[in-house]
């Protein structure tokens, strides 16, 4: 992954999200050790304190937990938690933005729904 330093998203949030995707894709499994702040710092060429902040976001949400002297591990149920979080929060925000933009452009509700259905159908075909 390449970090986008022009994004509105802070680097440490991008790190946390990247790790979530690694967990979702089973690249790091539950109860497995996750990268340390120093490994992340080395991989992405960022200050270790920035990497630590990314890991702390995951720790605060109990997606990872600390084993004394051994490092951070992926929690059981982490995958399920990330999935439902992303459904509720991220999808929710995107839909909110979508609805607002549709309003601005005078797109009616039925039309918007049709557009969503069409986009879904197109992605099925791929």
């Amino acid at each position: 992954m390449i970090l986008n330093n022009k994004s509105m998203k802070p680097i440490y949030v991008q790190i946390a999200e990247w790790l979530e995707v690694e967990i979702l894709n089973d690249h790091i499994k539950e109860e497995e050790r996750i990268f340390s702040q120093y490994q992340l710092a080395d991989m992405f060429t960022i200050n270790p304190s920035t990497a630590a902040k990314g890991l702390n976001i995951l720790a605060d949400e109990n997606i990872v937990y600390k084993k004394r002297g051994l490092g951070m591990f992926v929690s059981p149920n982490a995958k399920h938690y990330i999935l439902s979080k992303r459904r509720n929060q991220i999808l929710g925000q995107m839909i909110e933005a979508l609805v607002m933009e549709a309003k601005r452009l005078d797109v009616r509700e039925s039309e918007l729904i049709r557009m969503i259905q069409q986009a879904r159908a197109e992605s099925e075909e791929k």
């Binding site: 970090l3 802070p10 200050n47 304190s49 607002m100």
Partner: protein
């Protein structure tokens, strides 16, 4: 613990104050970026920290000692800039060997590894090097010394962008392996901000900001849109920068926290919210006028 403590440090040259009542602490084992425009006082400050010159007034402590004329401080400090000169009778290889005797933590594997990687010629004298190669060589000395306090003054002068990137990578990798206090000065923030922990921004010899690099990125936002709507939104707030794009359209930059309660309003009112790069932000924070160069051309 602090490696450097500065209290009201001032350095005057005649009537001009290069550094003006500057106070700050730099904590141990952090990488700090010293950022400022040309003539802001960066080099003067770094030379005082390295013990090369003495403050006119105020108290400056490095490793809990006054650095000026202190052997103890200089044994633990290395100052790298592009004015370093070495005897012409020494080759680059000779210099590496000689410098190694001065620093107890010198890592010769790192020195020779970097030396070979950057394809330096061991038989060349230092004075024959091009600007960029000289910087590269000096920076190898800085990294390999592994000094508890390592200072790089504009380390990437003359280097091409591939070498710059390699240098910052090498610095970060060796720092992870062997943490120490590092100060990097630059007027260009964006190429090095990811590897910094803290940023000290100075302007005309005074401190403008000293904060974690992460926070600087979230310090300000840019708002763009209809002039009247923008003006209503920012009324009574301190504007860091403003620029009129076309008639009726205005771009302003302000502290993010000033808008904290109004993000909903911004969202609803058809304004564009854009991130402000830390580079641009530093320019705005050290500008004399808040319209920048545009102001010069507006006197019609």
């Amino acid at each position: 613990m602090s490696t450097i403590q500065a209290r009201d440090v001032t350095k005057s040259y005649g009537k001009i104050k290069a550094i003006d009542h500057l106070s700050f602490d730099i904590e141990e084992n952090k990488i700090t970026g010293l950022i400022g425009r040309n003539g802001a006082g960066k080099t003067t400050l770094l030379k005082m920290i390295a013990g090369y010159i003495r403050p006119t007034s105020g108290e400056l402590m490095v490793h809990s000692r006054n650095p000026f004329n202190s052997l103890e401080v200089s044994a633990k400090t290395i100052f790298i800039d592009d004015n370093m000169t070495f005897s012409n009778s020494l080759t680059l290889k000779d210099i590496l060997t000689e410098v190694s005797h001065f620093y107890t933590d010198w890592n010769s594997d790192l020195a020779s590894g970097l030396f070979d990687y950057f394809s330096l010629n061991p038989k060349q004298p230092h004075s024959n090097l091009s600007k960029g190669t000289k910087s590269t060589f000096n920076n190898i000395l800085g990294l390999a010394s592994r000094c508890p306090l390592t200072i790089f003054d504009e380390p990437t002068t003359g280097m091409d962008s591939a070498v710059r990137k390699d240098f910052y990578k090498a610095l970060l990798k060796d720092y992870i392996e062997y943490p120490r206090t590092i100060i990097l000065s630059s007027h260009l923030l964006n190429e090095l901000e990811e590897i910094l922990e803290d940023i000290l921004l100075i302007n005309q010899g005074t401190k403008r900001l000293h904060l974690p690099a992460i926070e600087l990125r979230e310090f300000a936002v840019g708002i763009r849109g209809n002039t009247q709507v923008v003006l209503n939104l920012v009324e009574g707030k301190e504007i860091l920068y403003r620029e009129e794009f076309s008639k009726g359209s205005l771009y302003v930059v302000l502290k993010k926290e000033l808008l904290r309660d109004q993000f909903e309003q911004v969202k609803q009112s058809n304004l564009e919210v854009v991130p402000v790069s830390t580079d641009d932000l530093c320019v705005y924070l050290t500008a004399k006028t808040n319209g920048g160069i545009e102001d010069v051309f507006k006197r019609s």
